[in-house]
């Protein structure tokens, strides 16, 4: 048990037997962090009460949980969560799609690489948030501008990892495809793409986290709804306990989406061990 628990989630070759073992190990592994959470929450509440801090400075966790409950029960949070969730998902899908296609074109077609890659690199160096206000002007205060911003932010880690993944294919595998007289398309489909998948998925994991950030920042710049919009609004009203409640929802969304991407990665790229995971770009 201890052997598995050190790395948290464990990839085992035989899927059937391994799962229960690793789940048990994860539970055992989480005990210290759960204890830490409770200690931190209790000290936080104690500190707020002891110093008699006003809620607009720092609300206690009980206060925050109450706001979370009312926000959810009243339906306000759900409406805004739905808006932000749509922005994240749509932006992620769009960004991943464009990033993937661009990455494939750049790494497979020389003339495309020579023509547009320098600009792609330049664009990557640009802080995407700096152009967010432009998108609000071009696409309005609605959901579209947020999707575009999110897509732009999510695009680069995918693009970079697709290029790196496709270019780090084992030369011996290419020799084999060559010796079998495989066409360029066959070599791409049967050899290069699958062997790039582990690195592409590493890019997707970064992209989903950035997508959450992108949607929120997009809403900060100008929006009519969404969790980012809500945070700004509540900040102005000094309803800090409610802001904290929104932050909880936001981090839950982030953790959940990241977990889903990671999980699907592990299912699809099953042949890669944890220790070989490569994380590039970001």
């Amino acid at each position: 048990m201890v052997f598995y628990s050190r790395t948290g989630l464990t990839v085992l070759c035989n899927k059937a037997g391994g799962f229960s073992v690793s789940r048990l190990a994860v539970h055992k592994d989480k005990i210290p962090s759960i204890i830490f959470l409770f200690v931190a929450l209790i000290s936080w509440e104690g500190l707020v009460r002891f110093l008699d801090l006003p809620p607009f400075l720092l609300p206690g966790p009980i206060n925050v949980l109450r706001e979370l409950y009312f926000g959810l029960a009243g339906g306000v949070f759900l409406v805004h969560t739905w808006v932000t969730f749509q922005e994240i998902i749509a932006g992620f899908v769009l960004g991943v799609g464009i990033g993937f296609i661009l990455g494939v074109l750049i790494s497979e077609i020389r003339i495309v690489e020579q023509t547009i890659y320098p600009y792609v690199v330049a664009l990557q160096a640009l802080p995407k948030m700096a152009i967010a206000p432009l998108f609000v002007i071009w696409f309005g205060f609605g959901i579209t501008s947020k999707i575009v911003i999110t897509a732009l932010v999510a695009l680069f880690p995918v693009l970079v990892n697709v290029i790196v993944g496709l270019q780090t294919v084992d030369a011996k595998q290419l020799d084999l495809m060559n010796a079998l007289n495989g066409s360029k398309w066959q070599t791409f489909r049967m050899c290069k793409l699958p062997s790039a998948l582990p690195i592409i998925f590493a890019g997707l994991e970064i992209a989903i986290v950035l997508a959450v950030i992108g949607a929120i920042v997009g809403e900060f710049v100008g929006a009519e709804a969404g969790l980012g919009y809500l945070i700004l609004l509540l900040n102005f009203k000094l309803q800090i306990a409610t802001v904290f409640a929104v932050l909880i929802i936001l981090s839950l969304i982030g953790v959940l989406l990241h977990y889903l991407v990671r999980l699907s990665g592990k299912k699809i790229v099953f042949w890669v061990g944890e220790e070989k995971r490569v994380v590039i770009g970001g």
Binding site: L176, A179, W271
Partner: protein, 265 residues
């Protein structure tokens, strides 16, 4: 065994010059001449960097030659041929495909008749002793088993010629011995023409009808040694005095100071 039938591979005046990154010209092969006959087992031994792998890649049609003629069954090799199968030093299996799918890769790439060749691929996996491992993935197999998958894969399209580039070099001594015996059996069953590149003199002698000895760079054929040991050979063959004599004779050409001492058994 090894009776000179019709030549299936003919190499004449073959030369290969590389251009290095710094613009230097390096001659890897110089004036290589030989013929390999149908159903013959030929080994190529030589010091490191003598162009053994270059020769193999030229025969495979994945590396252009600089000069000379290379004929396969009478016609020049100008690109990868369906009549040649290859086993590399490493198994080069795709980790996302299981054993059966890996063995069937040539069927997909060459768009061969699925029903017919998948049956053949099953039979070949059985022949290399992996009948019960079809659904396993490469990382679940030992190195020797992986290499047997790659041998099966090379045989699936039924090429008359098989090129093997130090296929057992990465295996431990025991597994290697076992694989040698397996290869003898496979060769006797399939009657392929095999060109086998190796570092090991005893491996070359045990397996081959003839052994080509290459000189150091630029590589050329220094000597061709006929191995007249009776078939079917086994591990006992190694302990006969004839075997020892042939091995000693070959070692005489490869000699000292080429850093091969440890690999040459």
């Amino acid at each position: 065994m090894g009776e000179p039938g019709r030549p299936i591979i003919q190499v004449e005046g073959l030369e290969k010059t590389y251009l290095t990154r710094t613009g230097e010209r390096v001659k890897a092969l110089s004036d290589v001449n030989f013929e390999i006959y149908d159903s013959e087992f030929v080994s190529v031994v030589g010091p490191s960097g003598c162009g053994k792998s270059t020769l193999l890649r030229i025969l495979l049609g994945i590396l252009p030659k600089s000069k000379g003629t290379v004929l396969l069954d009478g016609s020049p090799i100008e690109g990868p041929s369906n009549n040649i199968g290859v086993v590399f030093q490493e198994p080069v299996l795709f980790p996302w495909l299981n054993v059966f799918q890996n063995a069937c890769l040539p069927i997909r790439v060459k768009k061969l008749d699925r029903a017919l060749y998948e049956e053949r691929s099953r039979a070949l996996l059985a022949m290399v002793g992996l009948r019960d491992f079809s659904n396993k993935y490469p990382f679940e197999l030992s190195g020797g088993m992986q290499q047997r998958v790659s041998i099966a894969r090379a045989l699936v399209p039924d090429p008359p010629v098989l090129l093997m580039d130090e296929p057992f070099g990465a295996l431990d001594a025991l597994t290697r011995e076992y694989m040698n015996l397996e290869l003898i059996r496979i060769w006797e069953e399939s009657r392929k023409t095999i060109l086998f590149i190796t570092h090991s003199i005893s491996e070359a002698v045990l397996l081959s009808d003839r052994v080509f000895i290459l000189s150091p760079r630029p590589g050329s054929i220094r000597e061709i040694v006929k191995v007249d040991l009776p078939r079917r050979r086994s591990l006992e063959t190694i302990s006969t005095s004839e075997f020892g004599q042939i091995a000693k004779f070959i070692r005489g050409f490869l000699g000292q100071g080429d850093g091969e001492g440890t690999a040459v058994l």
